[in-house]
Symmetry: C2
Subunit: 392 residues, 2 copies
């Protein structure tokens, strides 16, 4: 008969989930409360305030959607779109393509702005798309493309949207807590994220925030939101500021304990300190990888510190390397996705995974595995190079 | 600055979540694996087999949706409906009404079969609805209405659907693991449930199962499923039987550890034994409540053992009683919902909450609180009455 499951302790350096600190796992396992218990309702208020801190926003409509980031994405699209709308969608990786799917399933038209995988979204192309489609009511883009490790200029893109009277939908799944994110400063309108990346919480929840402009559009809807579960007008009845919480669905109580704890930890460290930590460990990793003779897939100025796309050296067996890291070192790194499958590895330094020990362990493990595969790498230089950055 | 959150240990005897055993909370907090880790993929196979056991089905498409029961409901509707379809929806409580919302948001027409709250779905009325609407392609109903504590005749309703060439969508959120549920025996086509009721797992996940007939209809769709997140053709790529798992969304890894553990516990106890335990504790509770002079809101033949709707005696302050139980005894019971708000309490004996200790504690606590409120109850008889049933 099937018995209990005891997973090993992996080191998670892929594209997420990232390492979950013991403190967060401890919170996760605390006794379950009812979702209408006054103590739980108090926790909801704290989570909202903590999310406002992490997103850098005063948006009233800020809450964790009770499902993973893909559902947070869908929540943004189904609440802001109606059939017949036009949306400019920027695609420079997997997640832009997913946005297109969302737009079309709302009965709206997606005007695609395509950039090569590994490149950021081109502002000029977006400008041109608005010129061709003045009717566009939404601009959607990914701040931090998890499939390629590229950062786009969210501030400039949100500004372009406002200039053309459109709302912005911004994917910050991989950026929240890892690099600068300034919802109010950018004037972003609908922003979704995930818990399992730079927040280092367990996967399954999607923090979202909607600007007053976005809420206005939601309240003015004439066409019912096509998803009952993700209808923000209904969700607001439970998560809104009222003292009386209307039952909508049963909140994932324990997952929210964990999210709360991870946000408390982020608040304790401080947003800017967390961003600086991600930048420092990234610099050390890159120094080490380059000293080993490997090359990065993304130009330095567009790189995400939390997600490092590395070119797989010619002749190296992608899957065999990842399996060896997993089986010998309990260390997970990510494969390339879509167009980059087989061409890059994705090394995550997200949240709690972004720590010196992980950088050093990964470099040593990778050097060992690649060396035994006969890959043309330089031996012995990676760790000193990384340590010099960390010491500096 | 906001600190960590330490909830008290409540006894959860409302409409869910129910008490989560320490074993399940322990599983929840085990180290997070990547969602494509071979060990995790193995766990997914076990979860599927365990869900097939719990649902009594061989359906290949059996999996946990990564979101609460409301999303499981939506998954069934959006995958089986297309605009223009006609659905017969049975409503005898809150959740039938929610089904209607789902149907309409799919652009389909809901033909409502209404029964009074507290009554089961009328087979005659469903028969008549099919006669009036031979074009109906789906019959949707709630097996165990959480809002009223009523059980409807699922076997007969599924048979009616098949007889009229329609698929059945069955809400078993509150029944799975608590009362007889026989997906293959009934010939049910799309069945969804929740984790936080009689499985006594944490809230946030929705087990679903689709018959081969339902899968056929999904595969024959010409109209894309309106939800990307809940599109079963995409979800199948990750949860399907292929050795290669296609990334769809990041699975809620830790929540699935907990679901697995709760299903292992159900398998160890045995389905029939669990159903018998629910029946026995229910009988003891009813004997105690009636000995106290309280009355049940639902006729004996339609009662759910896991959710007991009790009439609030005249002159008793509903909210004050629930607050006293919560604050003095850390004991949660449920308020009435919708039409029954203020008229009934809902006492849950679901999963791990269905145990003798809880029956006895609830009776003693309620007697104490009602007595101090001056309610016209009989003192001293409730516990012996319940204990006699438990001893019998």
């Amino acid at each position: 008969m099937t018995g209990s499951f005891y997973p090993p302790q992996r080191t998670l350096m892929g594209p997420g989930p990232s390492d979950v600190p013991a403190r967060v796992l401890g919170a996760l396992a605390r006794p379950t409360l009812g979702h209408l218990d006054p103590l739980f309702v108090g926790l909801m208020d704290e989570i909202k305030a903590l999310l406002q801190y992490a997103f850098k926003t005063r948006n009233e409509l800020t809450l964790p959607v009770s499902a993973p980031g893909s559902a947070g994405m869908e929540a943004c699209f189904v609440n802001l779109l109606a059939p017949g709308d036009t949306v400019i969608v920027c695609a420079n990786g997997v997640f832009g393509g997913r946005m297109k799917e969302n737009v079309e399933r709302c009965g709206a038209t997606a005007v695609m702005v395509e950039d090569a995988w590994g490149q950021p979204v081109s502002l000029d192309k977006v400008q041109a798309a608005f010129a061709d489609h003045p009717e566009a009511s939404v601009l959607a883009f990914v701040h931090a493309e998890t499939s390629t490790g590229v950062r786009s200029d969210a501030a400039a893109l949100c500004a372009l949207a406002r200039e053309h009277g459109a709302l912005s939908i911004v994917d910050t799944v991989t950026s929240l807590g890892g690099i600068e994110l300034d919802v109010d400063g950018w004037g972003a309108d609908a922003v979704y994220s995930g818990t399992q990346k730079c927040l280092s919480c367990v996967p399954g929840i999607s923090p979202v925030t909607f600007s007053p402009r976005a809420v206005e559009r939601i309240n003015a809807r004439e066409h019912k939101v096509q998803s009952w579960f993700l209808d923000m007008q209904l969700v607001m009845g439970y998560w809104g500021g009222n003292t009386k919480r209307a039952y909508h669905h049963t909140a994932p109580v324990n997952a929210l304990y964990a999210l709360h704890e991870s946000l408390v930890m982020l608040r304790e460290e401080g947003l800017e300190t967390a961003w600086a930590r991600h930048a420092r460990n990234h610099a050390a990793l890159v120094a080490g990888l380059e000293a080993m003779g490997l090359s990065m897939a993304v130009a330095a100025e567009h790189r995400l510190p939390q997600l490092n796309a590395v070119n797989i050296p010619e002749g190296v067996d992608d899957a065999a390397v990842r399996s060896a890291l997993l089986n010998e070192f309990d260390l997970e790194i990510g494969a390339g996705l879509g167009a980059l499958a087989g061409k890059t590895w994705r090394i995550g330094l997200m949240g709690h995974s972004s720590r010196e020990r992980n950088v050093i362990t990964l470099l040593a493990a990778l050097e060992s595995v690649l060396g035994r595969q006969g890959a043309p790498i330089t031996h012995g230089d990676a760790l000193p190079a990384a340590q010099a950055v960390l010491a500096g």
